[in-house]
Amino acid sequence: QDKTVKIGALSDQSGLYADLGGPGSTLAAQMAVEDSGLAAKGWKIDIISGDHQNKPDIGTAIARQWFDVDKVDIIVDVPNSGVALAVNNVVKEKNGVYINSGAATSDLTNAQCSPNTVHWTYDTYMLAHTTGQALVKAGGDSWFFLTADYAFGAALERDTSAVVTANGGKVIGGVKHPLNTPDFSSFLLQAQSSKAKIIGLANAGGDTTNTIKQAAEFGIGKGGQKLAALLLFLTDVKAIGLETAQGLNFTETFYWDMNDQTRAFSKRFGEKMKNGAMPTMVQAGVYAGVRHYLKALEALGGNPHDGVKIVEKMKSMPTEDELFGKGEIQPNGRTIHNAYLFEVKKPSESKGPWDFYKLVGTVPGDQAFTPLSESKCALLKK
């Protein structure tokens, strides 16, 4: 057993997820290595980064080459569900370790779960359950969905609808819009005339931000309807601007301004970022994941270069770090930690360039994520 580790941060470095993952994720991994203090104990830990450009084939090619040529032990981040699933197969084939933080698909810990994979931060199941449940309970009992017309959107809508009905709400309509639609006015008009109390946005990225902006333009908030963004990141809110985004409800598992520890970490992080950006939950997840991985290695007393073994060790240790607090990794690879319901502040309430969120509620991890009893993961059957 040697004490060398090579970490590959595979992310979208220039495309639409670059801001929420990208270089920030690499930085988060670096900080995790530094904070682990292993270097002082004689460990040699290197980090390389790669750009999968949101293309599964490029992602797998890089991953394969990392394992074959660069002798990488662990791949982290990997936003974009398509790439994430593709890389999942490679890591399993090469018996590496895979800590995904950026991808939403809950398949990673269900149908496609793998003994080499840990899924941190969030997934579609969690998003649907937390936001949906909270809003119905707060009186938003009739829903209209604007859904991106592809697998991710459909899953999100399906899961959320189930939650809404289960909690006594009603879904009164919905419209599927094509991915990357620049103009949502048609769809918004339909949502408006449906008179639903909540307009659920089962989409992501640019589609979500565009919908929110244009909804404001068409006076949708003023008519008493409320928008629920099922997936929204800090960087999205930044892009929309508080003026427009104010009052939005959504769920994240990390926000920089939660407590002293998160603030301290985020300050250090922001100083190293080009535009002073605060970490997103994806980047925070990378940090926490790498920390936990290194802890497991340390506990093993060296690097066995055996993915399954390391992940087993990781699952056997409870997780705990400054950013997500206490938690655990379930046998299917799902990390369990708290999820938080936020509301976007009014511009007048914001005190700084990244001061966006108000905490509305906390959902404990065991209620937020897929219960093991519902998981379709083959690992559980053994």
């Binding site: 639409l16 094509p178 103009d183 640019g206 427009t244």
Partner: protein, 287 residues
Amino acid sequence: MQALYAQLLVGLINGSFYALLSLGLAVIFGMLNIINFAHGALYMMGAFVAYFLLSLGGINYWWALLIAPVIVGIFGMILERTMLQWLTGLDHLYGLLLTFGIALIVQGVFQNYFGSSGLPYAIPDQLKGGMNLGFMFLPVYRGWVVIFSLVVCIATWFLIEKTRLGAYLRAATENPTLVRAFGVNVPRMITLTYGLGVGLAALAGVLSAPINQVRPLMGADLIIVVFAVVVIGGMGSIMGSIITGFALGVIEGLTKYFYPEASNTVVFVLMVLVLLVKPTGLTGRAA
């Protein structure tokens, strides 16, 4: 029925962008005989310039409407002078390839510095709010976009088709050497025309900034739709591209209402249908 009116109107708004962009393409095509693949990137630049003007210089929307097209137009003229000009006499496809390269560079640089998720640009105060038209709530800004782009389109049409300049432009497309030998400074005219076409793209960019996010890739996918619009219209005339632009916006809008799954594809499907019936496009002259 009311919903239908609303969808028609909304379609018209999108049509404005198609019209402005395909108009710019038609102007450039008419003159330089190249398909300006960089059009989408320059459209994006227009929006970004407006954003910078506001955030760095405190210059408001109204000035941006004027200044951004000029700045991007000048940038376009520099491109023309330094690169496109060297392609005269070569196959038109090289123009397509060169501008494709330029588009990649411009988009890449902006992506590098501004990421992908987009920057906000607020609707100017004067155009905030909306009107209740009975059948729909029309944001004032959207109404403005339709009217303003109509005016710009018609003005451009007049300039190209009804003035001597237009005749020079068309003649110089066919045989620049000869037109120059008649005493017209063709290179300068070409440069200015490219600037005009690019300026139109930038203007569309400024118009769209408050509606959409200001994003480096905002033009990349749009431009392919506009290409389809151009193929449908046939690029035969300036008026043709304006009318097809608006018409397709409306058709697309209606599709979003009746069969939203197809709204991304409807323009392309229409293109296929038109080509099957009339291979030269609706107003096209034989290529």
